[in-house]
């Protein structure tokens, strides 16, 4: 399938520290790429740069279209989805309200994913702030993969989740990739990575430690 997500010479500098240096990566539609590397090698920063949450130089193309200069919300509207290490936002919103906001075009896949991850229907009336760490992470992943994005970026999706939830996420990701979504996963869990990834990209250890 055609072009999915393309990064060309991506470079991120924050407060004078080079966090990502000249990363080029092409993820074809339907492909699942795992980004691995030691702590501090800039994996999360790459995802932040693709979403537009940190300033970067280089080119970022989604579906053949340059999205580098666009604001984060516009990139999301073009079909870029993302989950965070911190999980779903803590706050006064209820689970149902958050899912409804995140997936206005239909949230059935997200509810189905949550139900299969926890083995029972997930309560929509609970405030997100009351969920446990694992439940919040699972909810955040469900928000990212509940639609049919062009590309989805997941930051350590299964690190705090148990086996049943991991299986549910893996099944949904295979389903999405089959439909032509580019999947990028940052994850340390080798089993999960080897189960899903068609390709593994390794980032080098940070070299500014020596400086």
């Amino acid at each position: 399938m055609g072009e999915g997500l393309e990064l060309e010479q991506l470079r991120v500098v924050v407060d004078g520290r080079v966090l990502v240096e000249g990363l080029s990566l092409t993820v074809d539609r339907g492909e699942t790429v795992a980004i691995v590397g030691p702590n501090g090698s800039g994996k999360t920063t790459v995802l932040d740069a693709v979403c537009g949450l940190v300033a970067s130089s280089g080119a970022i193309r989604l579906g053949g279209e340059d999205i580098h200069g666009l604001r984060p919300a516009v990139r999301a509207a073009r079909g870029l989805a993302r989950s965070f290490q911190t999980g779903a936002p803590v706050g006064t919103l209820r689970v149902g309200e958050l899912v409804d906001l995140a997936l206005p075009d239909g949230a059935a896949p997200a509810w189905a994913l949550l139900a299969s991850a926890f083995g029972r229907p997930f309560e929509g009336r609970r405030p997100v702030g009351e969920l446990s760490t694992g439940q919040r992470r699972m909810l955040d992943v469900a928000l990212a993969v509940g639609g049919t994005p062009v590309a989805v970026l997941l930051d350590e999706p299964v690190a705090v989740l148990d086996g049943r939830a991991r299986d549910a996420i893996a099944a949904r990701l295979i389903e999405l990739a089959g439909g032509g979504t580019c999947v990028v996963v940052v994850e340390h869990d080798r089993d999960f990575v080897s189960r899903l990834a068609t390709r593994v990209v390794e980032l080098a250890a940070p070299d500014e430690v020596a400086a």
């Binding site: 407060d15 590397g37 290490q85 919103l93 969920l131 446990s132």
Partner: protein, 808 residues
Amino acid sequence: MVDLPLGIVALGLVQGGLIALGAQALVIAHRHQRAIDLSLPALGAAAGASAGILVTAAGWPFVVAAVCAVAGAAVASALARAAVAPRLQYAPPAVALIATAGIGQVFAAFGSALPFIAGHPAPTYRVDFGVSIGVDRVTLGGGQLLAMVAPVLGLAVFAIWRRTRASLEAEAQSQDPELAATFAVNPRRAAAFGAAVAGVLAATGGVLTVPALGASISAAPAPAVWILFLAPAVLARWRSIPVATIAGVALGVVAQAAQWWTGRAAAGQLVVAAILVVAVAVTRAEPGRAGDVAAASAWRTTVDQSLRRLRSRWAGLVLGVLAVAVVVAASTASVGPARWLGGAAGLAAAATAVALAWMLAGEVFVAAWPLAAIGAVVTAATFATPLGASGALVAAVAVGAALGALCALAGRRGRSAVALVGIALAVAVEAALVTNGAEPPTIEPAGGGAGGVAVACTGVVLLVAALVAVTRSRWGRRAVLVRDDARRAATLGIEPAATRAGALALAGAFAAAAGWLGLVAQPAPVLETFGALRALVPVAMAVAGGLVWSGAGLAGAVVLRAVETAAPGDIAAFGVTGLALLVVLAFAPRPSRAGAVRGGDVDGPSEAALLAARAVYAGHNGHQVLDGVTLESLPGQIVEVRGPNGSGKTTLLRAVAGLHPSTGSVALEGRRVNRIGASGRAGAGIAFVPAERPVFPDLTVAEHCRLARVELTVLRAVGLELRTSALAGTLSGGEQRLLALVLATARRPRLLLADEVFSGLSPARAVVAARLLTELAGKCSAVVVAGHGLPGDLASAAVDLEAPVAHG
């Protein structure tokens, strides 16, 4: 510039020295509280009044009186801070700001009352120490020279202070109170020391102000005074003491020059207000940190829930309504129901704007009152024209919405910027209308007083209905998501900047409509209504009314209008903010008190176990999470806590660490620790590594070692020995976790509780983490680990938690 006399510059330097001291105090307080402390200017004024009374009425020598006043202020500041710190430590900075304004009103009330108590001493006095220097046509006495050099004293105090352990503890405490507790930092002590140092500087400035500037002993500090201190502190980004000092001195010169050039006090006020707005505008935008967002949201959730619980207590509600009805009946008897209602309607409408800004943008909308004043001015200007009453309303609302959206622009410049711009706006309105002695905005009474009051009351009801509709709408929920986590909202396709601007524009429109309603209800208001101090009243009302529900403004307005009619004048202003403070404190969630124990029937702990946690029950807001769990650990044992997501692994560890309320018995080496708080348990040898935010983002790696009282050499085990000067917030997630783990193990705790230490660690780092845990267990400590990714052979025992029970 050329013809500015040297004498004016010299006077500017005197005033600048005093401003610099105030700004230094604000910056130090902010470093330790992460909030603007509006009580400090009032504290300084109260100290100045005390010293003045001792000198002029009791005849004490100035130096003795000054030292006593400064010492007294330091103690008062420390006590006040220690009293409120545990209540407010998780509150968003904006709420803490309101609370400090309330404390300030208590100090101000004390300062204003002193001259009456002492029987009206001399209004001011001079101190020369026998020194006098002539500059141009101005003669400077010793007191004025002292004021000029005083900022250097402030710099010295700060230089000494920041080297102390107490200052490090205060910084840690301000960044993450819970984490600080696990480092055995006592929250009250840390807050009190920081407040005392800030209090010394503020009081020194206050004590010198009376003799150096010829200020009146009884002058209560108004927003016009705060603003002088705020601008340099903003320019210093609330961190750099030298920048605050230089900016403060410069501001003094500019303020004196502006007043000299124009010959009007209002011009000086306007210039200073403009400088504050410019200072906010040139500040580099500050990205919100994930930790801040999480802490503030958690606070809001808890306040929301405690209020909901409160409203379900019908008996309390009925009593409250009865009490309010009695006060209202008493106060309407003196002014008449129509005037009473008219006044309440304007206040309630403005408070509705505050409630809206809080619920949808998380901002303290001090600008509500000045925008209402501007709305009244626009109404007065357009009412008599062919546009008529409805045209005037449209014009006022348009102006208010535009100014509200401009406030949102300021909000991108970091914490509390919207509140600061609101204060500047309030001072500017006061300068233009009150100080300048302008005609108050008036309209021809349309259809008589009673008709106007009816229109105003209907308007307020419509505003509240609109507020309810907006907060329940899809757009309102989007605004709440932006408020809680702007980054996440952006990645879900919601524009954070536009949403926030929309929310504040709406709040501005509400505020301007309040001005229109107020004028319709009371066609000829008195000029003092537009004073800057009044700007806090709608904010206080919304806080007193409960902030997170739509009727907040209405409820607050009824109570506070009653207070106001019962006790007019300054006392009302003090009472209003003081009351708001009390309400905030009453609703603010207290940190977990692990001591609230019931159920003493549990068996005593077995002698051999190092940790014995028996029948632990804990829950979140009525959902039972732990149901009689038992966790025991022998010396040298590594226990794994297992269970599916949501089964309460984190809650169990937090309950043992004293961070989550629980019942049941927790004993360490046979000694029950149930009644000891988190910092006490840390001191007794329980270390805790949390799963989220395990380090202080704004402390360096080396400062973490100092706080934990361990040598820098321990960092070698985790490969961080070359990063000692890096801020921990700049480390990657895995590095932060390892840093937290090595600090915890190097302290040689008797018991280590580690939550999710292995998740997010690369395989090489996971080996390091496992080695640290094994080494600690080898030294006869107990280790309890929860979470996923544990190496298979690490744990020697396990506790299984059950899957959560479905509720509702």
